[in-house]
């Protein structure tokens, strides 16, 4: 069959044919499953994939229209978009992304609590989007310049009235626009699937509510502090040791001893002995009180040994009132409090009791510990999920911008495979920098041989230096926050835009431009 020449006719025909194919697929679901295809997971997958694909195509047409103006970098960007689509490289990633996002909701078991299902979907969806787009960006950027130099297309382009900086910018712009479009499509798909899943019945009422109060929201987090600062306690202890003229002060030194006492106090504060209690104070909750937003106390505990079925009943006391709470060891528990629990100073005093208040005698006799960081926190709603999701997407886009510029810069100097490997290496190192810093901290400590110790030490410091340099890349990781329904603050977006968007991308651009400018495009090595 010969397709019509006019683009709008071709598009109309493709739209009509694909719509017919979708209707046929939905009809098959209807006839096979015997119920509404849009309530069936397979039916939704077809419809979602079709919508995402058309959203992408419509966005692409819009971008091509926007890039029609007579300015050389726009022309380069438009050609890059065409290349990405027509040479199938980007199309493979795009197809995979759309398919992954469409299939993910259907993979969840209906026996899993609904809010976990939505969280898992968001987590996998965001992870797949970030990974696939990063890989696509790396490949497109690495081949963007090196490919043109390699097959000498650059001869024709760079003899036209366009500076090398403008050309580099055009390439980067093209990749950024493609990434932006794909992020928008993937974001819209994730967002709409998540909201559709959230309307399904949960395993109980609390589960159904948790989707909206713990996942599809944007909550601010307040960490606890002890009733009295650890430093005060440490000072008291040091003063006592001085009065007693303790030899420990001479042996260890006052400063080191002070630090050790602060650490021990914090550890002790997070550990509650059987029948013991610990007070945790959350401050800065005036806004929640003013907005009359409920506050969630979210915590997890560890015990040694573990109770049967890992289930433990603890007591908690707020404003003099005690209640029992069932906690599963190693899992997070959220307790929602009325805004009245916040006092006039914007504080909540939360006391956790290692005893079953319903039946103290049946209490499990083991010390419980609360892990640091997010082991215990107070959360309250600070904004909507949509804007939070948009901020997370913006951070991801900024990070992709850095990868694109780094890849282009690498491609100005190196051949495609080498440039791609280098950029991939930087991406892997940057993404894992948080983990690497923790892992390398003690690397080689147990080596006995001096030579090995020196070798591992140099590896450690080199790795630590690189991981520290690339640290912001993993620190600005909004995915986990979105999945947990936490606020991705504007300060994160601005920080990421400043550090990664301006400083890093700017440095990569400057280096890439310099290399490209000094490079002989028709270089022959003999």
């Amino acid at each position: 069959m010969k397709l019509p020449d006019a683009p709008w006719k071709r598009w109309s025909l493709t739209l009509a044919l694909s719509a017919l194919a979708l209707i046929a697929a939905e009809a098959a679901v209807w006839l096979g499953a015997g119920h509404d295809p849009l309530r069936d997971s397979a039916g939704r997958t077809f419809a979602g994939a079709w919508l995402a694909a058309w959203l992408f195509l419509a966005g692409l047409a819009l971008l091509r229209l926007l890039l029609k103006f007579e300015w050389a970098p726009l022309s380069v960007a438009r050609t890059l978009l065409d290349e990405a689509i027509r040479m199938r490289l980007a199309l493979a990633f795009i197809g995979l992304l759309i398919l992954t996002l469409a299939v993910l909701p259907a993979m969840e078991s209906s026996e899993t609590p609904l809010h976990y299902r939505v969280q898992t979907f968001l987590s996998l969806g965001l992870g797949a989007t970030a990974t696939l787009l990063s890989l696509m960006t790396i490949f497109l950027a690495s081949i963007g310049l090196s490919g043109e130099i390699q097959d000498q297309r650059i001869f024709t382009v760079m003899t036209k009235p366009m500076g090398r900086g403008a050309y580099l910018f055009g390439k980067w712009l093209g990749i950024m626009l493609l990434d932006g479009l794909l992020l928008a499509v993937a974001g819209a798909t994730l967002f709409s699937y998540a909201f559709q899943m959230a309307r399904e019945p949960g395993i109980d009422r609390a589960d159904a509510q948790a989707v909206w109060s713990e996942v599809l929201t944007a909550r601010a987090s307040v960490p606890p502090r002890p009733a009295a600062p650890f430093e005060d306690k440490a000072r008291e202890k040091i003063a006592r040791l001085m009065r007693e003229r303790s030899p420990l002060l001479q042996e260890v030194g006052a400063d080191q001893l002070f630090e050790q006492i602060v650490k021990d106090e914090e550890k002790q504060w997070r550990s509650i002995e059987p029948r013991g209690r610990a007070t945790f104070v959350f401050e800065g909750l005036r806004e929640a009180k003013a907005l009359e937003k409920p506050v969630q106390i979210r915590f997890t505990i560890n015990t040694l040994p573990e109770p049967p079925e890992k289930l433990l009943t603890l007591g908690m006391e707020i404003k003099g009132r005690t209640a029992a709470v069932d906690v599963r060891v190693g899992e997070y528990k959220s307790v929602t409090l009325n805004p009245d629990a916040i006092d006039a100073q914007g504080r909540i005093e939360f006391i956790l009791i290692n005893e079953n208040p319903r039946n103290p005698k049946s209490s499990f006799a083991a010390t419980i510990t609360i892990p640091p960081a997010d082991g215990l926190e107070a959360l309250y709603e600070r904004g909507g999920f949509a804007l939070n999701f948009a901020r997370a997407t913006a951070i991801l886009w900024i990070k992709l911008g850095f990868l694109a510029m780094f890849g282009l810069g690498a491609g100005a100097l190196l051949s495609f495979p080498v440039a791609a490997l280098l950029t991939l290496g930087v991406y892997t190192l940057a993404s894992a920098s948080g983990f690497l810093i923790d892992a390398l901290k003690y690397f080689g400590d147990n080596e006995k041989s001096e030579a090995l110790k020196a070798a591992t030490s140099s590896v450690r410091w080199t790795g630590m230096l690189l991981a520290e340099l690339l640290g912001p890349y993993s620190r600005y990781a909004p995915g986990a926050k979105v999945v947990d329904g936490r606020l991705v603050p504007w300060s994160d977006v601005l920080g990421c835009a400043g550090w990664i968007g301006l400083v890093w991308t700017g440095l990569a651009a400057a280096a890439g431009w310099l290399i490209f400018r000094l490079r002989e495009l028709a270089r022959v090595q003999v």
Partner: protein, 400 residues
């Protein structure tokens, strides 16, 4: 001379290029102290065997390579200067194009780099596609084109900006005789409009047909430089061409020469047509009969915006409009264009009319000035020019 009063279009001074190995040790001196000046309105030929430094020289002129020593200026500026590049058109030795773009998109892409507005761009694209005979396949991806078709679209992209300087690196490689003839016509046409062309070719007949001045390179150095006439004139012999003579009359001429000047006639023969002319005649006939082809059609006339001043009287008004549009659209109007208006064609109003090209070779005396004979008709002129100077040098190069 007017041409010499204007600043040169290309000026190379002591131009040297040494290629190095991985360890940055000098390995090959591709161009060695080259001094070259290309004046405005000239068709300048760069000749030489493989590895003589032609392409390296061109790439330095275009800023794709940096000289190891010496200086190169194009329109008095560095080759990398964006304003300079706006006045240059370049056809590389192979058509390095985006395989995924179709012919129309390819020209649109390059047109936008030149900041040509949409209306002007589309007009030029239509004309160029018509000119190179690719209008029927304009929606087909360039990657699917044959080599000849790729050369045609490559040529079109080099002309999209109506360049003041056109650099053609082996422009006829891969082209059929029709395309080859068309390129030669185009070069002559551009010359008539006061443009400058730098032509690098292995096909000596092509160079001979269109170039005003030629330089022959070997080992990165200039071995010969001058006009075609200066280089090719054989001053110790004379050649006549006349209507058919019967043997008795030939004998009388022979006796007369022997008697009056003690000269001998070495060869008497009937002149032959060139194969190119025969080929073009056959294709023209096939076109008239409406024969079908899936490839490039025979190109149309030279695009109006490139052929301004050479079109038929009926088209003159349109041509003027286009010419004014072309000038208005240029980022920097060339100094020489305003200083020297396009030359009036001496004969043959439409330089690209195929029927004229397929006509038998005109009878032109060998001793007529070369430049005159070229401008008199676009068809090949010299019946049996002695190319010993060029061939000798090239043979020498090959043997070495």
């Amino acid at each position: 001379m007017v041409a010499n009063a204007e600043p040169p279009v290309i000026e190379c001074l002591g131009l040297t290029k040494v290629f190095k190995d991985f360890w940055m040790r000098p390995r090959v001196t591709a161009v060695d102290g080259l001094d070259l000046v290309v004046q405005p309105h000239q068709v300048f030929g760069l000749l030489g065997p493989n590895g003589s430094g032609k392409s390296t020289t061109i790439k330095m002129i275009l800023g794709l390579l940096f000289p190891t020593k010496g200086r190169v200026a194009v329109f008095g500026q560095l080759p990398s200067d964006v304003k300079t590049k706006a006045r240059v058109g370049y056809l590389p030795e192979e058509s390095y194009l985006y395989r995924f773009l179709n012919a129309r998109e390819t020209l649109d892409f390059y047109g936008r780099i030149f900041n040509l507005d949409r209306r002007e761009r589309n007009k030029r694209i239509d004309m160029l596609l018509e000119m190179v005979g690719l209008q029927a396949v304009q929606r087909r991806p360039v990657g699917e084109f044959s080599k000849g078709m790729q050369r045609r679209i490559g040529l079109a992209q080099a002309l999209i900006n109506d360049p003041d300087l056109l650099i053609l690196d082996e422009p006829t490689t891969g082209l059929d005789p029709l395309g080859t003839r068309q390129i030669k016509d185009l070069i002559l046409n551009l010359k008539q409009r006061g443009k400058t062309v730098l032509l690098c070719s292995h096909l000596l007949a092509d160079v001979e047909d269109v170039c005003d001045r030629v330089t022959i390179l070997y080992g990165g150095k200039i071995r010969a430089l001058g006009t075609i006439d200066e280089l090719l004139r054989v001053s110790d012999s004379t050649q006549f061409e006349t209507e058919h003579l019967d043997p008795a009359l030939v004998e009388k001429v022979r006796e007369l020469l022997q008697r009056e000047g003690n000269r001998k006639i070495h060869r008497v023969e009937a002149p032959r047509r060139k194969l190119e002319a025969l080929f073009l005649e056959i294709v023209q006939q096939a076109l008239k009969e409406g024969a079908v082809t899936s490839g490039a059609r025979s190109g149309g006339t030279v695009a109006q915006f490139l052929a301004a001043g050479t079109q038929a009287a009926s088209a003159s008004e349109t041509t003027q409009v286009i010419e004014s549009l072309v000038n208005a659209a240029k980022p920097q109007p060339p100094a020489q264009s305003s200083a020297k208006p396009a030359e009036t064609p001496k004969s043959g109003a439409d330089a690209a009319v195929l029927s004229a090209l397929t006509a038998p070779k005109p009878a032109v005396a060998e001793f007529a000035p070369a430049a005159e004979s070229k401008s008199a008709a676009p068809a090949p002129t010299s019946p049996s020019v002695d190319r010993s100077v060029i061939d000798g040098l090239l043979d020498k190069g090959d043997k070495k």
